[in-house]
């Protein structure tokens, strides 16, 4: 049964900490886990939760995200009516905030037939079933339902919330609260539209509205107790990717409760040569491994040539690691060429980033 919910993913806010990796793409299209992009997680979660009308609001550098999503077919979102809608932020409104972007496309929201909206501000890496969230929202009669989690030590970037004994959220401003908001909200679509129209010039975001809303507005929390990653810095990016080397994540979390969809490609299976040595690695299709790979992640179409060593590193799509080159603690962006005998070294706390399409070293003739 289809449900009565419109999905909105607002990824217009950019993060400057990640600039080395997001200079030529948006945060939502950051490559992740050998073959995914960050957006795949929230998008697949919505699709599996039977949401089939989904709007994505993108920042101005949306090219890679457009390329990735295409018609939405690979997420099963290609419908004659509804399906996937992408609304790029016009670069001339660069410094405007969430609400002004949503306000620009208010026609879409008004035209949509669904009664409820599920809005995700930002794109978290998580595999969540939204159906219980929606169910709780409808049953509780709350005006707004906010998905939250119990914070762990490193979860510093979540907005703190406090609640009473009945999961009613009493404050968004508290510091040192044990709970953090995942910035995922469910509410009636009409209320959402009204809130955009009345607050577009007053507040920057829905969170701002909720922070300042009067007590007649009933905001309930929904606890998500699953695994979630919020990638805010290069260290986060490195650490969270590396966590996937625990087979639990690869086999359980990426497939359960539902598989994470991504763009499908006709890459052949990975090929290993007689000289390859591989230990504890995630390797995507289209890779050719002739050298050593250890504790690392290779995205689709990476070529590790003879004698090369890739250790504790992340190598993105179609990059080439030359003969006898050595990588340790590196993040190699897409389509990079590392010439033979080059050394690139970083640490988990300070991984060395080689930016997209860079050519490192000189050809030894």
């Amino acid at each position: 049964m289809k449900n009565n919910v419109l999905g909105i993913i607002n990824v217009t806010q950019e993060n400057h900490e990640l600039h080395a990796l997001t200079a030529r793409r948006c945060h939502a299209s950051l490559p992740y886990g050998g073959r995914y992009r960050i957006i795949d997680f929230i998008l697949s979660s919505m699709v599996h939760s039977k949401i089939r009308n989904i709007a994505i609001f993108t920042p101005p550098n949306y090219r890679s995200l457009f390329d990735h999503l295409g018609s939405g077919k690979d997420w099963d979102l290609e419908y004659k009516q509804e399906g996937l809608f992408i609304f790029p932020k016009n670069s001339t409104f660069d410094n405007r905030d969430d609400f002004s972007v949503l306000n620009q496309h208010i026609d879409y929201l008004e035209k949509s037939r669904q009664e409820y909206v599920l809005i995700s501000f930002g794109s978290l890496v998580m595999n969540i079933d939204f159906q219980p969230v929606i169910k709780q929202h409808i049953q509780s009669g709350a005006d707004v339902t906010v998905v939250y989690k119990e914070k762990e030590v490193h979860d510093v970037s979540f907005t703190d919330i406090t609640m009473d004994d009945f999961q009613n959220i009493t404050s968004f401003n508290e510091t040192d609260s044990p709970y953090g908001s995942l910035d995922i909200f469910v509410m009636k679509k009409d209320k959402f539209i009204e809130s955009i129209k009345t607050n577009a010039n007053k507040y920057r975001s829905l969170l701002d509205v909720l922070k300042n809303c009067d007590l007649t507005c009933n905001i309930k929390g929904y606890e998500y107790d699953g695994y979630v990653q919020k990638i805010n810095s290069i260290q986060d990016y490195y650490r969270y990717n590396m966590e996937l080397l625990d087979p639990y994540f690869l086999n359980e979390w990426l497939l359960k409760p539902n598989e994470i969809y991504t763009k499908l490609k006709d890459e052949p299976p990975a090929k290993y040569s007689a000289s390859s040595e591989v230990k504890n690695a995630i390797i995507a299709n289209g890779c050719v491994v002739e050298g050593n790979v250890e504790n690392s992640i290779l995205f689709r179409g990476v070529h590790v040539k003879k004698g090369a060593t890739v250790k504790n590193s992340i190598v993105m799509q179609k990059s080439q690691i030359g003969e006898n080159a050595e990588l340790d603690g590196a993040i190699i962006d897409k389509e990079v060429v590392i010439f033979p005998y080059e050394h690139i070294e970083g640490t988990p706390n300070n991984p060395k980033v080689v930016t997209k399409q860079k050519i490192v070293g000189e050809q030894i003739i």
Partner: protein
């Protein structure tokens, strides 16, 4: 309906009897190949990459899996507004009752109406049983240049194997003067690849003629080509150079899979200008564990490798447990290989569950095929029917 210059007719009804239990419930074109593909992906990709967008796929034997694999042809970009991929099973005709296609020529004859709607100049007849990358547009060019009535693609085979094939004898201009089906004393080594281009108006005439002949086996190689030669049609040979294999037996299927592992394999799967297209299930990337060893192999998405793999091809979602070793073998999708299992020179069927400690195949033995009926030491089943 807009006109098409060429319509491809892909024969995919092959039973593949010599493939033993691998084709017990699937047609030969749907047999898995190369770690990720099914055999028919080669011909469909050839069509797509050659710019042929109208393909009739003639199915008959065990079409269930094949039909669902083909769908509307989207994985090969063959879901087109006009033309595209169409599945053509045998059908029941008014007052004639229903029956299977009597032979390759009859299969085309029964679908004359399908071809006629596109008013093509040429019909390309191909088979979904072969492994090769070929640009059909070059063959068509050659056919036009020769002003031929028909063109047959040929490949040089080793002389000692020539008697297994249909052999073409040609003059200096590649015109076919004589054709021998599986000759005992072959006159040369140019073997037919079962790839034909015909002028449609002429072929239609011969198909109708052949259908009237009660004694005919309604086969291109046995009936249509000899008849055309008898009546002095201008048939030309088009010599193909590259990898071509008919994977008709368990041994040749095994061999063709392992051919892909050669560093200088003539069959290039990585050519981005000639992508081999297929249905891509969505699986996580493969994981190679701390105690694993992988060399000279092809491994697909969704595999979890904790044992050692040498000179083997692993399909989607294969799990290899600690201490297991796999050598010179082909492991089909979702097989689970238990602890300390030893596998050599084998094909392990889709979804097999090999219990801990089992040994399959020998260094110098025949190719072992593990399928749903296989047991170990006569009592341990090697297959639990648990398809995902």
């Amino acid at each position: 309906m807009s006109r098409k210059e060429v319509v491809a007719m892909l024969l995919a009804g092959g039973e593949g009897k010599r493939l033993s239990n691998l084709t017990k419930s699937v047609a030969k074109p749907a047999v898995p190949f190369g770690g990720k593909y099914r055999i028919i992906d080669f011909t469909l990709s050839n069509c797509a990459n050659s710019g042929i967008d109208t393909v009739g796929v003639l199915t008959q034997y065990e079409p269930l899996l094949l039909n669902s694999y083909l769908g509307v042809g989207a994985p090969w970009d063959l879901d087109r507004k006009c033309g595209g991929l169409k599945i053509l099973p045998p059908y029941v005709q008014k007052q004639q009752g229903g029956r299977w296609y009597k032979g390759t020529a009859n299969a085309i004859y029964e679908n004359i109406c399908f071809i006629e709607q596109y008013e093509p100049d040429y019909v390309l007849v191909i088979s979904g049983d072969h492994i090769y990358n070929m640009d059909y547009s070059k063959m068509l060019e050659e056919h036009e240049k020769n002003k031929a009535d028909g063109t047959i693609s040929v490949i040089q085979v080793p002389c000692q194997e020539a008697s297994r094939f249909g052999i073409m004898n040609t003059d200096d201009h590649n015109r076919i003067i004589d054709f021998q089906e599986k000759p005992e004393q072959p006159k040369n080594n140019l073997a037919s690849m079962g790839v034909y281009v015909f002028n449609w108006s002429l072929l239609k005439r011969y198909l109708k003629e052949d259908e009237k002949t009660a004694t005919s086996s309604n086969d291109f190689g046995k009936d249509i080509i000899p008849m055309m030669l008898r009546e002095n049609c201008s048939l030309y040979a088009y010599q193909f150079e590259g990898y071509w294999k008919d994977v008709g037996t368990v041994e040749s299927l095994w061999e063709a899979n392992l051919d892909l592992l050669d560093d200088d394999s003539a069959l290039n799967l990585k050519n981005s200008n000639w992508r081999l297209k297929s249905v891509n299930p969505n699986m996580p990337p493969q994981y190679v564990g701390k105690e694993a060893k992988v060399s000279r192999s092809m491994v697909n998405d969704g595999c979890i490798i904790n044992g050692s793999i040498d000179h083997s091809v692993l399909f989607y979602g294969v799990e290899v447990d600690v201490g297991a070793s796999i050598k010179d073998s082909v492991i089909m999708p979702h097989a689970k290989i238990g602890r300390n299992v030893k596998i050599e020179r084998s094909i392990i069927g889709e979804g097999a569950i090999i219990p801990d400690g089992v040994t399959i195949g020998q260094h110098d033995g025949p190719i072992e095929l593990i399928d749903q009926t296989s047991t170990y030491k006569n009592d341990i089943p090697l297959f639990v029917n648990e398809r995902r």
